[in-house]
């Protein structure tokens, strides 16, 4: 990962071998992005992300976080979903995939969500698909570019019939 990020030309990269080291770095200065492995000793990448979203200093609490994982055990799927990461990427990593996600984060305007069960970027974005001009990796990814209509517009009568309030008896 360091080889990839250095290849991108990142000016300053902090490499941490444990979540404890990462917490210290995140607590000591302003960070532009965190890329963490999911599998780490003692505290895993999901718990590190959860800590960032809830307990890190204010300046880094909503720093973009990418979690990289080779395999997610079933018991961790919910934890991964709820940790608050911007993206979770499957290994083996490629520079293109990492760069794509960095660009997605840089271009997106996802709102932040803070509630009892979740703190992180709004997860309800999949329907919007990847940014214009980019292709997603999931088969269900839609693109946010709206193409030309392929059918004639609905007539007003058709719209009315869809919208027409119906009486119901309870």
């Amino acid at each position: 990962m360091i080889q990839v990020i250095s290849g991108f030309g990142a000016k300053k990269v902090s490499r941490c071998l444990s979540a404890d080291e990462a917490r210290k770095v995140i607590s000591d200065g302003q960070i532009d992005m965190v890329i963490t492995d999911a599998m780490m000793p003692t505290i895993d990448g999901y718990d590190l992300t959860r800590w960032i979203r809830r307990e890190a200093p204010e300046q880094n609490r909503f720093v973009p976080v990418i979690v990289v994982t080779g395999h997610t055990p079933r018991r961790d799927v919910i934890k991964a979903r709820d940790c608050g990461a911007n993206y979770i990427i499957a290994k083996p990593i490629t520079p293109k995939t990492i760069m794509d996600r960095i660009l997605w984060i840089a271009r997106e305007d996802r709102m932040g969500i803070d509630c009892d069960s979740y703190v992180g970027p709004d997860r309800r974005f999949r329907r919007l698909g990847p940014p214009a001009g980019m292709v997603g990796r999931r088969s269900g990814d839609l693109n946010d570019e709206i193409g030309a209509a392929v059918e004639p517009n609905m007539s007003q009568d058709e719209i009315d019939s869809v919208m027409k309030p119906q009486k119901v008896s309870v």
């Binding site: 302003q30 083996p92 520079p95 997106e108």
Partner: protein, 157 residues
């Protein structure tokens, strides 16, 4: 009642990336690819080491292998996926991921599934050997592992 707060997140990364100067995106990706290519030898050695440790610690010839910790084999298999970034075939990572799936299920049940583990060890050795499996051979091998896993999952209920 749960209170949900919705707010705008300042995008510092955008400001940093698009502030001008630096590399073009395609140059940055090419440089990263070149950097990754320097790791091929080290990663091949890491994969070979993991497979050797898997075979010597968990292979069919190991006595009393039930006493092993499944988490150790899981970590070795995950380490193969880690090391696969710059090397071919990518099917090697798929086979290692399939072994992780087998172990994940076995850990839930608390019982080793040795036939499935042994087949995965053979598949890893075969893929790492660089033997020509013919057109689509690697894909067929991974599909077979998928079918095996689904079958074992169905048996386990």
């Amino acid at each position: 009642m749960t209170v949900v707060r919705k707010f705008k997140i300042p995008n510092r990364l955008r400001a940093t990336l698009f502030s001008g100067g630096g590399k073009r995106i395609d140059e940055a990706v090419a440089d990263a690819d070149a950097g990754l290519a320097t790791l091929v030898e080290a990663c091949l050695a890491a994969v070979a080491d993991c497979i050797a440790r898997i075979e010597s610690g968990f292979g069919p010839r190991v006595a009393d292998r039930d006493a092993n910790d499944m988490a150790d084999l899981y970590r070795l298999s995950a380490a193969i996926i880690d090391a696969c970034a710059p090397i071919e075939p990518k099917a090697l990572a798929d086979a290692a991921r399939s072994l992780c799936d087998v172990l994940d299920q076995a850990m839930e049940g608390g019982r080793w599934d040795w036939p499935a583990v042994d087949i995965h060890i053979d598949a890893l050795k075969l893929l790492a050997s660089g033997m020509d499996l013919g057109e689509g051979g690697e894909q067929r091998l991974i599909q077979s592992l998928d079918k095996l896993r689904q079958h074992r999952e169905a048996l386990a209920g």
